[in-house]
Structures are given as C-alpha cells and as structure tokens.
C-alpha cells in the first residue's frame, strides 16, 4: 500500500510532505500511560498492609458440659464412679500447684503425665473413655493450669469432663 502523505503549506507557499513514520512516532509518544501515580498508591497500600499485619496465634475452644439447672456439685451425682482429679495450690507462686487423682497411688506431676495416666486408667477393667472425669480445683489456682488439666483429660480421650467443687 502506498504511504499516505500529508500536505503542509509553509509560509512561502511551498508544499512539504511529512513521512508517515514520523507522524506515528510522535502520536505514540503522546499516548504513553504514566504509571508513576499508580505505583505510588500501590506502594503505599503495600507498606500499609506490611506494617499493620500482625500474625496472631489462632484461638480455639475446648467444649465443656455443665450440669442442668443446679450448682456445680451436681456433676458428682453420676451413675458410675468418676475419676476425680484434684488441682491444688501449694504456694504463693503461679507454678506452685499439685495434681492428685483420688483413689489412685500414682501422682502425675505434669499435665502430659496426667494425660498419659488417664489413658492407662482407661485400659483397666471398669474404666473406659466414657468414664466421667471430674476436675476439682481450689479457687486460687491459675486459670492456665485449670485449662491445662482440662486439656490433658480431653487429650486422653475422656468424653465426659466436668468441673466439681474442691
């Protein structure tokens, strides 16, 4: 195809022809998108999200069953004898506590030991994962230890864990 030419009249009446490639080059330059403001905004957003994001540890729930219409002592009124775990404060410090399982000689000292102990108890005749576990805690024990004890019973596979009165 023959290249199109555009006539340009100069002051002296002469007619000049401008090649097409020159015209298109100039027009293309004018159409370039200026990305700088967008990059500014995008970087601003990036910095905002990087600086405000905090990776928190996820929260979860440990379900607990409460007795129907009554005080917590009703939890003891069960048809089969439960495993009663005592958690008592022995000193002023937060880590001064002792675990004791009623009617058993073994005394686990940590919650992982308690979990292993409850698993062993379930293997004995008359006990299984349906055997209720009652957690009797003195009021001055830290909540962290109470949850640790509860978690140990759940980790041992005990299906019925409840709170009792110390």
């Amino acid at each position: 195809m023959k290249a199109a030419r555009v006539n340009h009249a100069s002051g002296n009446g002469a007619v000049h022809f401008r090649p097409r490639r020159k015209r298109t080059q100039r027009e293309l330059t004018a159409l370039t998108l200026n990305l700088a403001p967008m990059v500014d905004v995008v970087f601003l957003l990036l910095i905002f999200f990087i600086s405000t994001t905090t990776f928190k540890r996820a929260e979860g729930i440990l379900p607990a069953q409460l007795p129907k219409q009554g005080n917590m002592a009703d939890a003891l009124a069960l048809p089969i004898s439960p495993i009663i775990v005592h958690l008592q404060q022995t000193g002023p410090g937060p880590a001064d506590y002792v675990i004791r399982v009623e009617d058993f000689v073994d005394t686990p000292t940590t919650f992982s030991e308690l979990s292993a102990f409850l698993k062993r108890v379930q293997e004995n005749p008359g006990f299984d994962d349906e055997t209720p576990v009652v957690l009797k805690t003195s009021p001055d024990v830290q909540w962290d230890h109470v949850v640790g004890c509860w978690n140990a019973a759940v980790a041992a596979g005990c299906k019925h864990v409840s709170f009792g009165v110390e």
Binding site: R21, Q25, T32, L35, M38, V39, V42, F43, L45, L46, F49, I50, T52, T53, F55, K56, R57, A58, E59, G60, I61, L62, P63, A64, Q65, L66, P67, K68, Q69, G70, N71, M72, P94, F111, S112, S115, T137, S138, P139, D140, V141, Q142, W143, D144, V146, V147, G148, W150, N151, A152, V154, A155, F163
Partner: protein
Amino acid sequence: MDSTKKYHPRPSLTFNMAPMIDVVFLLIIFFVLVSTFASAERIPMELPDPDSSQALNVKLTDRAIINVQLVDPDSPGSSEVAYSIGPNRPQSLAVISERLMAHKRAVPDLKVVIRADKRVRYGDVREIMEIVAEHGIEMMNIVAHVGDAGPAS
C-alpha cells in the same frame, strides 16, 4: 547531508515497570487475604496455652463471649479482674447475669464462650461458670490457643 541514510528510531529509555507492578500486586493480594480483622468481641489478653492443645478452631453461632481479664495485667501482684460481655466495657456480675438471662430468653440455644486471661484465678472464672449454670446454659466453651500441630486425632 546524506538523504539516502536509513532512518533508525532512537531506542526507548522507558523503564518497564510491568513485572514490578505484578510482584507488588501479588504482595498486596497476599496481605489482604491473610489479614483477618480482629473481632471487637475478642479483647486482647494472654490466653491459656496448654501443651498439645486440643482446642478446636470452630466458629460458633448463637454465642455470648464473656471476657475475664486482669484490671492491671502489668502489675505482677495484682489479681483484680474485670468481666465483660463481648466488646462492652467492664460490668458487674449482676449486670452480666441480667444480660445473659435476656440473651438466653431471645436465643434458647445460647452457647457461652469464656475467654479468660491465663493469669486469673480459677475462683474468678468460677463466678461466671456459676452464673452460666444458674441460667440453665449447658454448653460452656473455654478459649485457649490452638496447638501448632492442631488437636491430635
């Protein structure tokens, strides 16, 4: 001037920003997706963190979150606690009991979630547990950190 000289366009000096924008957008999308905006009901506090936690990361509907936090958590000897339902300001146990009763009347299948700071005493949490039991709410949920590996199956 040689009119027969071939025309060579000047090489472009513009910086190609497309790959950089790709990467930056990718980062923004990542941060937008991983950001979970904290619920106002979940007041910041130190939650219990048991070994090999069995806590389940589930979302409950029809639930009331009761926060039990230390009034002065920075003071090591302080054991004074404040109770609140959801994002509200600290309330007395009587007010909490009334609100819980009203909530239970509106939602019979109400579940209570207790979020207590790990440093509070069991006796302080027990006050709430007794109120919950008085209103005939059977399901109570204790909040703890989820273990790194999740609950053992």
